[in-house]
């Protein structure tokens, strides 16, 4: 089974993995917001009122991870962070199952949901790992469009006959400290 999943991960393109990561990022933020702002309700629904503060802390973690996924050029470490977070969530839910709990069925349901997301996280993390971040493809190549009659470097300074108008010159005192020793190109007179 594990072997089969690895093979599927290997087939997922970086583009698909990035798209999945973005989806998980938004999911993370949404779940985090629910846990932070509705922590009391969620804890009561699970019959785990004593864990309300812990749930809110997990919500903060989810939001930070989600922002990290969406803001980074390479979300791989953040997705692995999600996997670690999933393990924490499962451990907490496992404790909820082990303790006497009137809402045991709901905890089982939540555990199943978290396990499902964990599988997605692992698939995504595996697919991202080892594949460099994707560059936008160069579909339209304009590298032959210089607009210049010679190679660009040969045109450097070709307009040095131009006299910068006085109102656009830099005052002597403000000229950068890189003033050239010798004039490679003629300078307009000051």
């Amino acid at each position: 089974m594990a072997h089969h999943r690895n093979r599927r991960s290997a087939q997922m393109s970086r583009e698909s993995a990035d798209a999945l990561a973005r989806g998980l990022g938004w999911f993370s933020i949404a779940l985090g917001a629910v846990e932070v702002f509705g922590g009391k309700g969620v804890a009561r629904w699970l019959g785990m009122e004593q864990n309300e503060k812990l749930l809110r802390a997990y919500g903060v973690r989810e939001i930070m991870t989600g922002v990290g996924i969406l803001a980074s050029r390479d979300p791989t470490p953040w997705i692995w962070g999600r996997v670690a977070g999933d393990a924490l969530d499962l451990a907490t839910l496992g404790k909820g199952l082990a303790d006497p709990n009137a809402e045991r069925d709901r905890v089982i349901m939540a555990t199943g949901a978290v396990a499902g997301v964990t599988v997605l996280d692992i698939i995504c993390a595996n697919a991202l790992t080892g594949q460099p971040p994707q560059s936008r493809q160069l579909r339209w190549d304009y590298s032959d469009r210089s607009g210049l009659p010679k190679p660009a470097m040969q045109m450097r300074g070709a307009a040095s006959d131009f006299q910068a108008p006085r109102d656009m010159r830099i005052p002597d005192a403000l000229r950068p400290y890189t003033q050239p020793q010798g004039n490679e190109f003629p300078r307009p007179s000051m």
């Binding site: 560059s135 210049l148 009659p149 307009a159 910068a164 403000l174 890189t178």
Partner: protein, 391 residues
């Protein structure tokens, strides 16, 4: 005649409107042979510029043939002349025009009071660019009335194609002025944010004016490939840290000269949280422009350096690190382009073959396809960098 008219955000239509007529002895009527969609037209399309009214004819990059001349313009123009029309309307007689500051002509904005309310003092009238700048019908049309036509034109000699000279009306002198404002030294690194049409012109201008190295910053591979063709080192800001790379390329000192050819609609990205905040503020009208590029330039520019801002800004910006500007002694030069100040020289350079600005054109279509090309250009689809329309 047919013309492209603005009807609201994302809504430009090709419609039939009455032909323009001579309204003043200094007017001329131009039959448009080529016009272009400018990056700053997108600010209107996306409705970030105030002062548009439904039905306004847009477009400020155009050229054509003179078909009618008012009595007082006959000394300078005759029927049949081929002209490029600068986007800034100039009287040629006021104090600012006499100084060559054509983009702040004191007389051509017929809504001068409105402009003065917004900006403190009036600026020049512009074609097809809001009622703040006069509400003059623009050039994405079959015919245009050119006010102050005896001064507001660039005569084109025979032997040059529309494509070679069309951009004398805006983006070429805009990129050129952006580089000139930098007063480039042969030892300078010039960093240019935005590799759109103005950025491309600024890259080549900085190269021709002798910059030691020119660095172009964008995220679109096709634009970066064109920038590279013009001699620029490229930075893809989606893949690299702009500040780290600029410091690497300048031995940790930063570029001496920085050019913002992006303006008020900088790209919104999770990688740059300030752009998210700016976008949110724009939505609730707490800020009109997104000045990410200005912030980055102010931060990375070498002390005693120059910031040149050809990119269009319309109103208010937040969280500008002015402490960096003051303490590093930066010089900021900006403004709409004083087109006619540069065009004699630039026309000569085109004639001599030093540069052919047509390199930037990626799409040429009929005027009636204008509305869909606005969308293509806005969304950067189909490798679109510059659209020319043929009425």
């Amino acid at each position: 005649m047919k013309a492209l008219r603005w009807h609201g955000k994302g809504d430009i239509r090709c419609e039939t409107v009455p032909d323009p007529e001579i309204e003043h002895p200094r007017d001329a009527i131009i039959k448009v042979t080529s016009c272009a969609i400018c990056g700053s037209d997108l600010h209107l399309y996306n409705h970030f510029m105030p002062g548009m009214k439904k039905g306004d004819i847009v477009g400020h990059e155009f050229m054509g043939e003179v078909v009618e001349v008012g009595q007082d313009a006959k000394s300078a123009l005759k029927v049949g002349d081929r002209v490029v029309v600068p986007f800034t309307i100039i009287c040629g007689e006021c104090d600012q025009c006499k100084r060559g500051n054509f983009s702040v002509c004191e007389r051509t904005n017929r809504n001068a009071e409105l402009a003065a309310t917004a900006f403190g003092h009036t600026t020049a009238g512009l074609f097809g660019y809001t009622h703040l700048t006069g509400g003059y019908p623009g050039g994405q049309a079959e015919y245009v009335r050119v006010p102050y036509a005896d001064k507001t034109h660039i005569k084109i000699p025979d032997g040059l194609t529309d494509e070679q000279v069309l951009f004398l009306g805006d983006i070429f002198p805009t990129g050129w002025q952006a580089a000139v404002q930098c007063d480039i030294e042969p030892t300078d690194t010039v960093a240019i944010w935005g590799a759109g049409p103005v950025g491309q012109m600024a890259i080549r201008s900085a190269l021709l004016l002798g910059a030691k190295q020119v660095i172009a910053i964008d995220r679109l591979p096709e634009r970066l490939s064109m920038a590279k063709a013009g001699g620029a080192i490229t930075i893809n800001f989606e893949e690299e840290s702009v500040i780290e790379r600029l410091n690497e390329l300048t031995n940790g000192k930063g570029p001496e000269k920085c050019i913002d050819s992006v303006g008020l609609e900088s790209h919104v990205s999770m990688n740059h949280p300030d752009t998210l905040l700016d976008r949110a503020k724009q939505t609730v009208m707490l800020e009109s422009d997104r000045p990410h590029v200005l912030r980055e330039m102010m931060y990375v520019c070498r002390p005693a350096g120059v910031l040149s801002v050809p990119g269009v800004y319309g109103g208010l910006v937040d969280k500008i690190p002015f402490g960096a500007v003051m303490n590093k002694g930066l010089t900021i030069r900006t403004g709409q382009t004083h087109v006619n100040r540069w065009t004699d020289d630039l026309l000569r350079r085109i004639q001599e073959g030093q540069i052919d600005p047509s390199f930037v054109i990626t799409h040429t279509v009929g005027l009636e396809q204008g509305p869909e090309m606005y969308e293509t250009f806005r969304d950067k689809k189909d490798g679109c960098i510059k659209v020319v329309l043929k009425p």
